[in-house]
Structures are given as C-alpha cells and as structure tokens.
Amino acid sequence: MQRFMAVRVLQSLMAILVMSMIVFGLARISGNPLDVMLPIEALPEDYERLEKHWGLDKPLHEQYFIFVKKALQGDFGQSLKYQGKSAMGLVAERLPATLELAGFALLISAILALPIGVLAAVAKGSSMDTAAKIIALLGQSLPAFWLGIVLMWIFAVLLDWLPSSGRGGLQHLILPAITLGWFQVAAIMRLVRSSMLEVLDSEFVKLARVKGIPEWKVVWKHCLRNAGIAPLTFFAIIAGSLLTGSVVTETVFTWPGVGLLVVDAVRSRDFQVVQAVVIMFAGIFILCNLLVDILYAYLDPRIRVQ
C-alpha cells in the first residue's frame, strides 16, 4: 500500500512538473516578453537593462527554476490586460463564482443520476433501463457548449423563464448548472447502476426481503447505502472534470468565473493569466486524480497488490 501510494504521489508530481515545463516552454516560444513590455522606439540598451532586471539574460534552466519558485509562492506576474492586477489575484477574485457553479452542477447531477441509476438497475432490461442507456449515450454525444445554447434558446429566448447569462440569484444558476452537470449525470448514473446490480444480488438483500421489509425500503435504504460507495470514490474525478468543464459552460453563459477569465485571457494573449489558471487547474485536476486512486486502493484491496 505504501509503495503504491509513493508511486502515485511521485507520478502526480511528475505530471505537474511536465505541465509547468510545457507552460514555461510555451511562454518562451510565444516570443520575447520584452517586445510586449517595451515601446517600439526602445533602444538596445533598454532591452539589455530590462533583460537584467527580469533575469532573462540567465540560462534557460535557471529561468525555469525561478519560474517554479515564484509559482510555488503563487506569483505569476502582472496581468497585461487588467493593468495593475496580479494574475493570481484575478484568479482568486473569480474563483468563488466557479466553485458556486460547480457545486450546484454537482448537486443537480446527483439528484438526477441517483434515481435513474437505481431504477435502471432494479428494472434491468425494461424501457427504464433502455432510457438510462440512451441518456448515457447522449451524455457522450452532446457537445456541452451546444446544449447550453439550446437550453438558453428554449428557456431564455422562447419561453423567457430564465435569464440567459451573467451571475445573480438562483435563476441565473439553473441553466449553466444543468449544462455543466449533464455529462456527470451519465457518468454517475452508469456507476450507480452497475454497483446497484451487484448489491441487489447479494445475500443480505435476500435476507432483508425474507424478513418482510417493504421492497422500497430494501432498494432505497439497504441497497443504495452499500451501492453508493463506488460512485463516491469517483467524486474527485467528477470534481476535476467539473472544473475543466466550467471553461466551456462559463463561456456560453458569460458566467464571471475562472473559466471565462482564462478564455478571455487566451483571446487577448494575456499569457500571465493563462499561466496562473492553467497551473492552478492542472494542479487541482491532478490532485483529484491522485485522491481517487488512493481512496480506491484503500477501499479495494485488489488494486494494492498489483
């Protein structure tokens, strides 16, 4: 177990390292940062002076170490677009909106996915099960950004029930949260269905039935409680994909979160902000994956042995 965990932790660190190298390397490929900072009429001496000041005259690997050191302190430099704001400060400002959206999306997808998954397992082979399969297939095939626009068109434009964009009360949250949660519905549902099928077949469920416990109680209490463990271990993966998925959803609904920030930054070539967001999201994403593996290995001894 310890060996397994050590390997996985090392792997995650490597992944973050690779990601930081990619980000750093690309920042250098994209051109001399001094070209952006200095006016056109700047003299070669100005370049030299600033090069010294920013440490750009040092060898590349030293620059990389400085970059990592600063990144660890949360310092990614100043935003080019929003003058006078640090890249990390902007991210921190926008983070609550993203977390709000992701949390609500998770709630909605759990509320939808649990009952569908349970019913699909209980009535295996019925049209309920078929409907669940179709939902899963649609979850794989519907582009999230398009689903968002369709929802916006139906509920904001045609019916005029909900606002189409921006952040505000609960009404503002519904459409983006459904768009973001849609993919998770399919994922959670499949997990619930397969683990329910396993539990429904076990001895203690038969015993509960023999004892004369009402069927609804057997299914929703005794079974679901045990079948819920497997989907729970995937919680971190879902959280990770909700974060990266928020980039698309926030763009569709102009939701003022980190996702919209990074897309705007890409469009205006605000590389400092892109760096800050990507490194932070990648860190969270990779950490989530690590958490899942460790949690899973803890709950399922078969994995540890490998």
């Binding site: 990619i22 095939s141 519907l142 582009p143 369709v150 039935r209 897309v263």
Partner: protein, 299 residues
C-alpha cells in the same frame, strides 16, 4: 416479492416497442451507418460538388435569412444564412470536411506514435517499458482543454495547433492498448520460432506482432473519432481550436451564440450536425467492438 421473476413481467412504464426498437438499432447499425455516410463522408469528399453555394463567400443582401419553412426564408438557402450572408447548409457540408480531416490526421498520427511506442514497450520490457509507461500515465493525467488553451495562447489558433494538441492527448491510449496485447503475444510459440529462424526485432514487431493487434486498433480508432470531433469542436468554440475563418462546426456554433435571440438557426444546425455525427460514430464503434474485439468492453 422477487424483482426479476422468470416470466419477466415488465413494469407499467416498459413500452415493448421502445425496448425492441432500441435493441434493433444496437444490433443492426445500418441506421447510424447511413446517417454517418450521408452526413460525414460523402459531403466531406465531394464538398465542392454537393454544396449548393459558396461556403466562404456570402452576399450581404442575404444576411441572416431564416430556414425555408420560416417567414422570410427561401428554398434557395434551405437552412438559412449566417450574418455574412453565407449559406448555412454549404458551410455545414464544408464543416464535415474540416472535422473529418482534423480528426483523421490526429488519430492516424497519434495511433502510429502510440502503436510504435506500445510495441517497443511491450516487446523489450525493462526500463524502456517503465519509461514509456510513465509517459503514458502522465499524458493521460494532463487536463485536455487547459493544455490546448496554453498552446493556443502561445502560438495562436491554427490547424497545426489543434492537431498537435489532439496527438499529444491521443497517443497514450494506443500505447497502453498495444503494450498489453504485445505482452501476451510475445510469449506465444510462433514468436519464439521467428526468433530462432533469425528474424530481427523490428521484423518480429512489425510482421508478427503488429498484425495481431490491428483489430483492437481499428476498434479503438473508431471509438475515438466521435470523441475527437467533440473535442475539436469544443476547442474551436472556445477560440482555442481552428481559426475563426474556417467553416468548422464549433466555430459556427460560437458565431451563433450571440445571435441566439434573432437567428437561432446559425447555432442550432451545426450543433445538430455534431451531435448526430458523434452519436452515430459511438453506436458504430460499439457495434464494431462487439464484433471485432469483445474483450475491449471496458474501453
């Protein structure tokens, strides 16, 4: 009360024809195959012949015309026109070409790299295997969209950028798959005999192991086409994929986003094209997997 009695009494909400219909669709992928052929392959190959209008040049006097069944639409532009007066149907047809080109190139190159590394990894084992497999793990744990965003922020959106991002993301699955199969195949008798007969390592890998993994590769590639089209269109929608001038489906949906109040058709039809294409590709991939290589069930 037993949940599944032997006579299979269906609950009230079980409508038999839906269940049967679905199973038929799953068993005979003719319907998705037909949609696919019709929507993707034929238009992609014959785009200039099939498209009723020029997909790149519009006439400003025909701006934002609705589809023909709506007030103000005409049968000349069956699906309407966009804000530059370009014919929607023609653009969607050219979009099929763009999507197919990008995803096929990315899958092909990614597949070749992955297969080669997987063969080497599985065949030689040892530290080569360890290094390549760690690379696979790392590549699989990189967040897709973010990687594309950084790359585009650095070098700008272009065909090359999108294809590069997709290749970086795709190769690892092939490497893992091929390595697993190679490990099993290299223990078989005929490999040992080939070696005794003096075949070189390259020859053994290329001539004797590779043909035995082709089926799995075809299945994986088919299953990935839909995923790649979805990914490419999401990136294009974000402005981190294909350049804005290209008639890519994701770009078109993005164009229609701000027109949603006045011109719903600009974003609806390209999105519908993405959905139907990916849906039929997924159904076909499932069918291929069941027939060519059932052991890949958990891919």
């Amino acid at each position: 009360m037993p949940l599944q009695s032997s006579t299979r009494t269906l609950p009230w909400y079980a409508v038999p024809w839906i269940v049967d219909g679905w199973q038929k669709v799953k068993r005979y992928p003719l319907i998705p195959l037909a949609i696919l052929l019709f929507m993707l392959v034929i238009p992609a190959i014959f785009a200039p012949l099939v498209a009723p209008h020029d997909a790149f040049q519009g006439s400003l006097s025909h701006r934002l015309m609705p589809p023909f069944w709506q007030e103000g639409g005409s049968t000349e532009h069956i699906l309407g026109t966009d804000k530059l007066g370009r014919d929607m149907l023609s653009r969607i047809i050219y979009g099929a070409r763009v999507s197919l080109t990008v995803s096929l190139i990315a899958i092909f190159v990614g597949g070749i790299i992955g297969t080669a590394l997987g063969l080497i990894s599985g065949y030689f084992g040892g530290w080569t295997d360890a290094v390549i497999m760690r690379l696979v793990d790392i590549s699989l744990s990189l967040p897709t969209i973010l990687l594309a965003l950084v790359l585009v922020a650095a070098v700008g959106p272009s065909f090359g950028t999108v294809i590069t991002v997709l290749i970086v993301l795709l190769w690892a699955r092939y490497a893992r798959l091929v390595r697993g199969e190679t490990l099993a195949i290299k223990e078989l008798d005929f490999i040992a005999r080939a070696r005794v007969a003096g075949a070189s390592h390259t020859r053994i890998m290329g001539k004797y192991i590779f043909p035995n993994v082709v089926n799995s590769l075809i299945v994986l590639a088919t299953l990935q086409v839909g995923y790649v089209i979805l990914l490419e269109s999401a990136l294009s929608f974000l402005g981190a994929g294909l350049p804005r001038a290209e008639p890519a489906w994701g770009v078109m949906v993005s164009d229609g986003r701000e027109l949603i109040v006045t011109a719903w058709w600009v974003s609806m039809f390209p999105g519908l094209a993405i959905m139907l294409t990916v849906l039929s590709l997924n159904l076909m991939g499932d069918w291929l997997r069941d027939h060519l290589d059932p052991k890949l069930r958990n891919l």
